[in-house]
Symmetry: C2
Subunit: 328 residues, 2 copies
């Protein structure tokens, strides 16, 4: 019998296991135009935390006691839709469950880029597009720029590092702990800050004595403040995420915010779905970088549908290197 994770209580602060329940789903016969997919890979992403609150946002909140949603890749096992055949691999948003049923339009065949299917949940999917368009379109980063990226060992951050290097930029990443720092350096970063080892403002000043042109923010808080402290004139900040505040209502404290003025800094929040119309351009450029050996990706994999909440919670305790995934 198919099963799905439902949200049974809206988390206060950091979510707990008891906020989620794995529930049997009724068998659903297919209607005309529908497809049944056996999910093989499920995505967990920080933005999902926002959907657990009952707050109007750019994506609607999860409904209580209904299956949650999220990125997933799977194999078509039954089809009553023209043009989709059993055996085909597809990308879709009916994650947090082992079997997905929906209209054919909800499922996208995977582009043929010579990459494994789960890459379309990571570097070649939403996190990769976030990195690519955040860096190149939102922050308008260009060759020669000095780029600072926080959470550089994460799915988005590690792709920012590599795209920036491939495009001729100087890159400073931040990550927590010696092992992740070493990994980010191995991706090509010119310098890596261990944010657990001391003041980020001080470390960034040493890593970028001339300042930074671009900041790609996944974290907020002290990282953002350090970027403000070291922003060069006309620096551009792409504000992608603030994992620091997702579970915590404490205000962000910024000592260096007024430097925005004299340095004419632009800070711009963005969400990747605004750039979905440019997916073909993204796949073409990333496919070329992949073929040239300029992109490496890493996955932190949990096994079994049961592991979904653990994998999700691991995002907030720094439990992943690269893309966090669940293999069903």
């Amino acid at each position: 019998m198919p099963r799905a994770w439902t949200l049974v209580a809206r988390p206060q602060g950091t979510p707990r296991q008891s906020d989620f329940a794995l529930v049997d789903q009724p068998a659903t016969p297919l209607e005309d135009g529908q497809v049944r997919v056996a999910n093989r890979w499920l995505s967990v992403d920080p933005y999902m935390r926002g959907r657990m609150n009952d707050v109007k946002s750019y994506v609607p909140p999860f409904k209580l006691d209904a299956p949650m949603e999220g990125g997933a890749v799977g194999e078509v096992i039954e089809s009553r839709a023209e043009g989709i055949e059993p055996g085909q691999w597809v990308l879709h948003m009916l994650g947090w469950r082992d079997e997905a049923v929906g209209p054919a339009a909800a499922f996208t065949p995977l582009p043929d880029l010579g990459a494994p299917p789960q890459a379309f949940l990571g570097q070649l999917g939403m996190p990769g597009m976030t990195a690519y368009f955040g860096l190149l379109a939102v922050a308008e980063a260009k060759p020669g720029d000095t780029v600072f990226v926080s959470a550089a060992a994460g799915a988005v951050g590690s792709t920012v590092v590599q795209v920036a290097k491939a495009k001729g930029m100087t890159v400073i990443g931040s990550a927590g702990g010696a092992e992740k720092v070493e990994w980010v350096r191995s991706l090509g970063a010119d310098a890596v800050i261990d944010y657990k080892a001391g003041s980020i403002v001080k470390a960034l000043g040493e890593a970028a004595p001339e300042g930074i042109d671009v900041y790609f923010d996944n974290v907020g808080g002290d990282h953002l403040d350090a970027a403000l402290a070291h922003a060069r004139p006309r620096a551009r900040f792409a504000i992608c995420g603030m994992i620091d505040v997702y579970n915590d209502a404490k205000p962000t404290q910024l000592k260096y915010l007024a430097r925005l003025i004299g340095n004419r800094v632009t800070m711009r929040g963005f969400i990747v779905s605004d750039h979905m119309g440019r997916a073909a351009e993204f796949h073409r450029d990333m496919g070329a970088m992949l073929a040239d050996g300029k992109l490496r990706s890493e996955e932190t994999v949990h096994d079994g549908l049961e592991a979904m909440p653990d994998a999700f919670l691991g995002l907030f305790s720094g439990g992943n290197r690269g893309k966090m995934l669940v293999r069903v």
Copy 2:
């Protein structure tokens, strides 16, 4: 004997009278190409606080024990330069003193817009250009937008209110105390918040139930946070000043910063000198608004060179309505 205000100590926090001294200046015979101007009006502006610190910024710090600088308007009383005659009125940056001597290029004849000379220190000068280009170029405000402006009773803010109304926008201002609130309303603002009367977040939510498209920030702090709380999708913030932190090193606390992301807000710091090349366009458009009776300006005037520090300090205690000036 001419006199000038010098900075004798770099202020810690709010400046004190003892940080300044009024000092006799040696009589200076004119060299070829030089002009002598009797200053009639002196400007005090919040940005001057930054120049009192010994910190690299977009304008160099004031030197200790030397005459300070700032906007001034005066009458030429002696000239050894071609094309500048005694009796002519000029705008220049050798303020904080009663007599200015310098090369002809340092003095700009006042444009003929039918306005009193001191208007070129206010609405038709640097504060007016700050309002005009901050609103229209930096925040890209357009007819139909809902605009929130803090310190709306100040020299910059009161001009933002009037330019925005003249261009067909809905305007919400904030000011401190009933008298200033009433005055900002009389300038045409659709709603005015008294920031001394309670929560700015709550008041802005009531004044703009559909949210704001543009925020013109002169204050920072709680005003900025309220603007973040009520930003509509794709809102633009022009960050002009943060008078809240000029005298105070306490960090800015923002509860609503992460809303930048979902609403794709752009925050952009700016300084008016980047737009000086467009002064002719500014004078043309403002001159037309003035002729149409769409611009009113108010001045808070202190008398006598001796009053400069009082006038300057009054900027930080809400002591002015409209442009703060000293008449020499």
